[in-house]
């Protein structure tokens, strides 16, 4: 009776998960093995072609030539996501530490400020960076006003601008878990460290960092995973010249009219995310066994 209820009682959850998650993923996987339709869409036909297309292109003489252009995009995506994650980690630790050391009321206000950008549409926020970085933007005006320069080439439409946008977009997702772990850190531990002849640097490296590590790791997942699928920043700030995987997928379902290829890249992206999550889960499991 009880065991039955444990299964059937969860039926609503099963239904929601099934219809909104498992079935759509199944469809994407199915489409990734289909053939490209003549007028867009796809035709049912079991084919590995979309996956082959990631690595090879069909040459003039109908033979497959190795073409690394999509690999480059995947590599660039991983690279930018990793750099973004590292910058977020480096920035969030001092910010979280500062917030955690404030009196209760100030702390609550600062945490609220960190989450405030989430209330504004992502597109609007990324657009704001156009005005900051663009020609005649805030930064250029400031530089000209101080007489440092008489004018600069646009700061926009390069990897740097894209990186700034991605760090800005996902930083709160890093600050919150890091804050949660830093806040639990007993101030007496830091005093104990100083008391035992550790200077600030040693205290940071040997006491604060190891104890903030769970928060940093949780934040890294929260930042790295959405970075892999970033679409807005490459288009608006990167100028759409250099694509990331998210743009590539979007293009294939839109202008490119190659759904199976788009689906195949989406499956690869999902695979990358799963590898990251599983690597972390295995590491955590290993750590618990060791303890």
């Amino acid at each position: 009776m009880r065991a039955d209820f444990r299964i059937w009682g969860l039926l609503p959850a099963w239904v929601i998960m099934g219809f909104t998650l498992i079935i759509p993923i199944g469809i994407v996987i199915a489409v990734s093995f289909a053939a490209r339709g003549a007028y867009g869409g796809f035709d049912w036909a079991l084919s590995g072609e979309p996956y082959v297309q990631i690595l090879y292109q069909v040459g003039w003489t109908d033979e497959l030539e190795f073409n690394p252009q999509y690999l480059y995009i995947i590599a660039r995506t991983l690279w930018l996501a990793a750099i973004t994650t590292l910058i977020c980690m480096a920035v969030s630790l001092p910010v979280a530490y500062y917030i955690a050391r404030q009196p209760r009321a100030v702390k609550a206000a600062l945490v609220y400020l960190v989450t405030l950008p989430f209330w504004v549409s992502m597109i609007v926020r990324v657009y704001a960076w156009l005005m900051i970085l663009g020609n005649d933007g805030v930064i250029e005006k400031a530089l000209v006003a101080t007489g440092l320069t008489s004018g600069i080439d646009s700061l926009l439409f390069n990897d740097g601008a894209m990186l700034v946008g991605m760090v800005y977009s996902y930083l709160p997702l890093m600050i919150l878990p890091v804050f949660a772990s830093v806040e639990k850190l007993d101030g007496a531990l830091i005093e104990a460290s100083h008391d035992l002849y550790a200077n600030r640097w040693v205290t940071l490296r040997r006491v604060i960092l190891p104890l903030a590590w769970p928060g940093l790791m949780a934040g890294a997942i929260l930042v790295f995973v959405p970075c892999l699928g970033a679409v807005l920043e490459p288009i608006l700030l990167g100028g759409g010249k250099q694509l990331l995987m998210g743009n590539l997928i979007q293009t294939q379902f839109g202008g490119g009219r190659n759904w199976p290829f788009g689906a195949a890249i989406a499956v690869v992206l999902m695979g990358l995310v799963m590898i990251v999550l599983m690597a972390r889960a295995l590491r955590d499991g290993g750590r618990h066994d060791a303890a």
């Binding site: 007993d186 531990l189 008391d195 035992l196």
Partner: protein
């Protein structure tokens, strides 16, 4: 005492928190190899004083010297003192061994000397078999020992202890008192111990500094502080006592004659009494004898309350309208006990009472 070196000199230390004066011109010396206790109720400034010695707080004015050298300009990691924290503050991500070796690593001890010292400390606090454990796998008493070993390992000039026993249960606290005292004798390191527990202070200390309202109320040996308290605050804070409002008849040097509310004239040691003025007579409950133990100044009273405590029985006795607390040792099994309502004969020796300020 004067031939011993001064480990710490505290000179005119004042500390203000906003408009609140936590410490008001406190001065004292702590000698080498001494077990020195800062005792007082919460908020008396004892922990602030300890934190100043460690370097976590700075006084508003005044000076502190460690073996003759001023230390107020030194950050905590450059002071050769170590602290045993109230919460122990063991590093949760390190093993017991790593915790103990932490200070030695920062001092740059070579590896072999470090591990030898760590092993020696583990042995000293009887924790050798727990070297590889993490703090969350230890009991409260074991953590306490690790915290001690960690603080003693770098051979500090002075060891600071911030209410280290307050988190332990009663039995363990008793055992740790003896261990702390033994450790202090073994190592010969100066201990500065902060507590609000007067029993702990009396038990362990060479000298006690009683702090109250930001000032030193009394500094002396446990015996001096208990038997000859400097003022009402000290007599009240250390142990139990009866305070009787008295009228001073005459003062002769250290001695004063006073008239008690029960009508007797008592002549004994005085602190701050002026002839013709009101004063307070402090009379400890165990200094009053009952029935066959009643000697000296004899009074008649009636038992109004009785608390059996095992080793002692505490009575409240009404003597002509004045309530006196009397404690009687149960020296033999089934010691004579006095029921509520019974008339009893009480007595105390004049030199057991003390005349204090009103």
């Amino acid at each position: 005492m004067t031939s011993r070196g001064k480990a710490i000199e505290v000179e005119g230390v004042t500390k203000d928190f906003g408009t609140f004066r936590a410490l008001d011109g406190v001065s004292f010396d702590i000698y080498d190899n001494e077990f020195f206790t800062l005792l007082g109720p919460s908020g008396c400034g004892k922990t602030t004083l300890l934190r100043m010695l460690a370097g976590f707080d700075a006084p508003t004015s005044g000076a502190i010297r460690l073996h003759g050298k001023p230390i107020l300009d030194l950050p905590p990691h450059k002071r050769r003192v170590n602290t045993v924290f109230q919460s122990y503050a063991l590093f949760p991500h390190m093993t017991v061994e790593q915790n103990i070796a932490f200070g030695l690593e920062n001092l740059g001890w070579p590896k072999d000397r470090r591990s030898a010292r760590t092993a020696q400390m583990l042995e000293m606090v009887h924790m050798a078999q727990f070297a590889r454990r993490r703090p969350d796998q230890l009991s409260g008493g074991q953590r306490q020992r690790v915290a001690l070993a960690r603080a003693l390992a770098p051979e500090p000039e002075v060891l600071l202890l911030d209410e280290p026993l307050s988190a332990l249960d009663l039995k363990l606290r008793q055992a740790m008192r003896d261990e702390l005292r033994t450790l202090q004798r073994q190592t010969g390191i100066t201990f500065v111990f902060v507590t609000h527990d007067q029993e702990e202070a009396l038990d362990m200390s060479d000298r006690i500094c009683v702090l109250g309202q930001g000032r030193i109320q009394h500094l002396g040996t446990p015996n001096e502080i208990y038997e000859d308290p400097a003022n009402r605050f000290v007599a009240d804070f250390i142990g139990e006592t009866n305070f009787l409002p008295v009228q001073v008849i005459s003062v002769d040097g250290d001695m004063a004659s006073v008239k008690t509310p029960m009508g007797q004239v008592v002549t004994t040691l005085q602190k701050a009494a002026t002839a013709g003025q009101a004063a307070t007579l402090s009379l400890r409950p165990e200094k009053i004898g009952m029935e066959d133990q009643a000697v000296g100044e004899i009074m008649q009273g009636r038992v109004t309350n009785k608390n059996y405590m095992g080793g002692y029985t505490h009575y409240t006795v009404d003597v002509g309208g004045t309530e006196l607390r009397v404690s009687k040792r149960n020296a033999i099994s089934h010691s004579q006990s006095f029921e509520i309502g019974r008339e009893v004969r009480l007595g105390f020796r004049h030199d057991s009472a003390r005349v204090l300020g009103a």
